[in-house]
């Protein structure tokens, strides 16, 4: 009997990049697990939490906890920052509310980011994918520093036949949620730096585990007319077209 995981797909993937969601399901199934997708899921509440609006964030967090707590098995999230929100953010949100803190804790303990789940929990590093060309891996901040996940995606990329993988510097792309709109000048300067590094890397595709950053980077690449595209790690592992949409 194979294991079942609960996929928390994240609102960004659901609403903007459904193809990534499909790739995630495919990857998980290739890794030998059944995928359940709780239908009532929406947004984890991170944007409100990060903007300092904890009241609204708590409402969304409670909703997410309620949707997921009755399910069984690990919760897999194909986004470093959303996984981090559930793992750490919820505990901060409910620090003064023992009942919800307990519920948040139980969820946090069974929540994993996708690459972390594949490598650390399933011990899978080779999913039989291949990619011809050069990939630039973007270590997104919340994944790298928030969850301490770095070698896992790289291990998985190492398992991609024929791909040449280059790890970009662990520098923020300047997204930061509301920050990108609140401080567009700083955000843009940071993005420029990232785009310049991508250009130098001579990679055709930027791959990462956080859709928000990838959306920011690809939005920037398209704005300057670059032909480089971004892809979620799952899209590369599933051997799907390497572009966000």
């Amino acid at each position: 009997m194979s294991k079942t995981v609960q996929l928390f797909v994240t609102c960004l993937i659901d609403s903007l990049f459904p193809e990534i969601g499909e790739a995630v399901v495919e990857v998980l199934m290739r890794a030998g697990v059944q995928v359940a997708i709780p239908q009532e899921q929406t947004c984890c509440g991170q944007p409100a939490f990060n903007a300092g609006y904890r009241g609204p964030a708590r409402k969304m967090a409670r909703h997410t906890i309620e949707v997921l707590e009755d399910t069984v098995g690990p919760v897999v999230v194909p986004s470093g920052s959303c996984a981090g929100m559930i793992r750490h953010g919820y505990l901060e949100l409910f620090a003064d509310d023992p009942t919800w803190l307990l519920r948040a804790n139980m969820l946090a303990e069974r929540t994993y980011e996708l690459s972390e789940f594949l490598v650390d929990q399933l011990g899978v590093v080779d999913l039989g994918a291949s990619f011809i060309g050069r990939l630039a891996y973007h270590p997104s901040c919340h994944l790298l520093r928030g969850l301490g996940v770095d070698h896992q995606p790289l291990d998985l990329l190492e398992g991609v036949a024929m791909a040449q993988v280059h790890r970009l510097k662990p520098e923020c792309c300047g997204f930061g949620g509301v920050f990108a709109v609140d401080q567009p000048e700083i955000s843009t300067e940071m993005l420029k730096r990232k785009l310049a590094e991508i250009n130098q890397s001579e990679a055709g595709v930027v791959v990462g585990c956080d859709v928000s950053c990838l959306m920011h980077i690809e939005g920037g690449l398209r704005h300057i007319g670059s032909s480089v595209r971004c892809a979620h790690l799952a899209q590369v592992l599933a051997g799907r077209e390497a572009t966000l949409r």
Partner: protein
């Protein structure tokens, strides 16, 4: 406040010199940071212990403050408590005025910037001169420091050259050595004539009542030694319980701040000048500043009080790298500033700073005491949005957003509206090129993906995957390179010599018996005839001094009259002409090439500070592998027993102009150690 912040940000980004300076700072500092931490075997363990020490201190702050105060008083230091900035300034001005002083020499202290002390002193009719090179430059320019460690980080050498030309009448030169020399000349005069010296404190050691200052240029030593009165101003949280804890902090602070294993000088001050001592401040005061710290210790931002002010979080911060220090509008810029400025100076005026962060966590990663910045910044944002008036639109947007998201049907409706909305906007290959305000801020530099007509959750039913065969999981071991040095323990004297030479010192190994001749030969080679030397000490040193006298070298009487007055001024000028200083050392520390040079009876401090060359006699038998070893084997007693003590590591240095290293600023430019086997 917010609008001005935006305005300063735009100006900073549009300033090409500033951008070059900031890029350089980020790149060089982080390269140095990486290199210096690579030489430490267990960084994580060190940082964990440092955090524990600081946390423990904060948890028992009342107790430690009381003990510390008691010790200081026992040591003959006068202690004052200041509840806020105004009180601290009043105290410092009153002490200065009571002494009749009209000139104050100051060494860099961000705490005095916090209370805007210079302004108060000037209003009290007192001239105050900043003596740290970077701080001197920004003072000349009428600016605030742009960084907590490197005040002139925002300037290129051309900027400094123009300032020196304008303010000092120096011929325009972009040669960093020239500029440093010009500043040194002006400041030497200030050191020799100031009646009061004001400094900060890096750490106060509770068990011994020691004030620890960590510096490179030597101005900190001047300011705390030469003027008859020394006033030290420190935040109440800057304590460590013991000397052992201090040794731990000293492993981390210089590495984090400037990428050095240790700074040129670590000054440990215990008492005012004692009977029989040739120099040292006669009167020492400590002002313990609260200014919101104790209140913050009981707030959700308490963790930020762990900070040891190394500045690493600024150097690694991608936002600081774009906008520099001045844009923040607070004496504490960068990540730490975005937490403590609202915490200490008010949420309504500074809370917005916490929003200027992507929460990337690079600061947390480098912080030597592991302050959890993302969490701290989120707490400031939370408090800010709850306690200060926010734009109604933002509040409405957040409420609406939550209302949509807690109901799956409303969420789906919103997705549909988003999809239809995307249709109406100008697009290119499925990406929206322009969004309406306020979201146009996004599309100013990036496209935005349009909403999908069929979201993932709605698609799922259609999925029909063939469950593919599960591959055999292959675990591949990643070889993590061991960066730690795994060599055989090196001979202690060899290690000392290597480290000393690494930081620009010179080592001469010789038999004790030939030391007098060796020293004399060296002096002749440099054309030195006039020296300041320690008085009667160990036989080896005495032998050298007698020999030099016999050979016709002039050995000056280093003893300064107490208090201020013409006699003292005259003597000071005379001592200022010495070409070399000759001292002993009570210990050496091999890991950093450090000399332990105490001040005490017959032990002139000026000998190792004022002249351009410092000669030291160091018996090989007193060299220890590490600082901790030395502390265990008599170091603690030595510190407690000396009225002050300097850990000297190589020549005096600065890198305040464009991070270009210059050797020999205020202190000696040459340190020559005669190691006696």
């Amino acid at each position: 406040m917010r609008n001005r912040f935006r305005h300063r940000i735009r100006n900073a980004i549009a300033n090409p010199n500033l951008q070059v300076a900031l890029d350089r700072n980020a790149e060089r500092r982080m390269a140095a940071w990486n290199e210096t931490f690579a030489s430490l075997p267990d960084v994580e363990d060190l940082r964990r212990r440092a955090r524990e020490v600081r946390q423990h201190t904060l948890d028992n702050l009342d107790h430690y403050l009381e003990r510390f105060t008691q010790r200081l008083v026992e040591n003959g230091i006068r202690v004052h408590r200041a509840a806020d900035a105004a009180e601290a300034c009043r105290l410092a001005v009153a002490i200065t005025q009571a002494s009749g002083a009209t000139l104050v020499a100051k060494s860099k202290s961000i705490t005095t910037e916090e209370i805007d002390l210079n302004h108060s002193l000037q209003q009290g009719g007192i001239r105050v001169v900043e003596t740290d090179l970077g701080e001197f430059i920004v003072q000349l320019r009428g600016e605030a420091p742009a960084h907590i460690i490197t005040p002139a980080v925002h300037l290129l050498r051309e900027d400094v050259a123009a300032t020196f030309e304008r303010e000092l009448g120096m011929p325009y030169s972009t040669d960093v050595e020239d500029m440093n020399a010009a500043a040194k000349k002006v400041l030497r005069e200030v050191f020799l004539t100031a009646q009061v010296g004001i400094s900060g404190v890096n750490f106060g050691v509770v068990e011994t009542g020691t004030l620890c200052l960590v510096t490179n240029e030597g101005n900190g030593r001047m300011v705390t030694t030469l003027p008859p009165i020394h006033i030290a101003i420190m935040g109440v949280e800057r304590l460590v319980p013991s000397l052992d804890d201090l040794a731990l902090m000293l492993q981390l602070l210089p590495r984090s701040a400037t990428g050095q294993k240790t700074t040129s000088y670590v000054t440990l001050i215990q008492n005012p000048r004692q009977e029989g001592e040739p120099d040292g401040s006669d009167e020492r005061h400590v002002i313990l500043l609260d200014n919101g710290r104790l209140a913050m210790a009981n707030s959700p931002l308490a963790e930020s009080l762990l900070c040891i002010r190394c500045g690493a979080c600024l150097n690694v911060c991608p936002v600081f790298r774009e906008i520099g220090g001045h844009a923040y509008g607070s004496v504490y810029p960068g990540p730490i500033g975005s937490v403590v400025s609202p915490g200490l100076f008010g949420l309504s005026d500074f809370g917005h700073l916490a929003k200027a962060s992507t929460l990337c966590g690079a600061c947390k990663e480098v912080c030597p005491v592991g302050i959890d910045f993302p969490t701290m910044l989120l707490r400031v944002r939370d408090a800010y949005s709850n306690n200060t008036p926010q734009p109604l639109a933002m509040w409405l947007a957040m409420s609406l957003y939550a209302w949509l998201m807690v109901s799956p049907s409303r969420y789906r409706l919103a997705q549909r509206l988003g999809a239809w909305g995307s249709r109406l906007l100008p697009k290119q290959a499925g990406w929206v090129r322009t969004l309406p305000p306020p979201l146009s801020a996004w599309t100013s530099s990036r496209y935005f993906p349009s909403f999908a007509f069929q979201p993932f959750l709605a698609r799922k039913q259609r999925l029909n995957y063939d469950a593919k065969p599960t591959p055999t999981p292959q675990r591949r071991k990643r070889e993590t390179e061991q960066l730690t040095e795994k060599s055989q323990p090196e001979d202690v004297v060899d290690r000392f010599s290597r480290e000393l030479e690494d930081i620009g010192g010179t080592i001469v190994r010789c038999e004790e018996g030939v030391a007098p001749d060796k020293v004399a030969a060296y002096l002749r080679e440099f054309g030195i005839t006039k020296l300041i030397a320690w008085g009667e000490q160990q036989p080896a040193l005495n032998a050298v001094i007698h020999h030099l006298r016999d050979k016709g070298f002039e050995i000056l009487d280093p003893c300064l009259p107490r208090g201020s007055g013409p006699e003292r001024d005259r003597r000071m000028v005379d001592l200022g002409r010495a070409e070399a200083g000759l001292t002993g050392a009570i210990a050496g520390v091999a890991e950093t090439g450090t000399l332990v040079v105490p001040a005490g009876r017959n032990q002139s401090q000026l000998a190792s500070l004022l002249p351009p060359v410092h000669l030291v006699l160091l018996p090989a038998s007193v060299i220890h592998q590490t600082m901790t070893d030395w502390l265990r084997e008599g170091g603690e007693e030595a510190i407690a027993g000396a009225s002050s003590l300097n850990l000297i590591s190589g020549p005096s240095r600065t890198a305040d102009i464009e991070m270009t290293l210059t050797i020999g600023v205020h202190g000696p430019g040459q340190v020559i150690v005669f190691c006696l086997d």
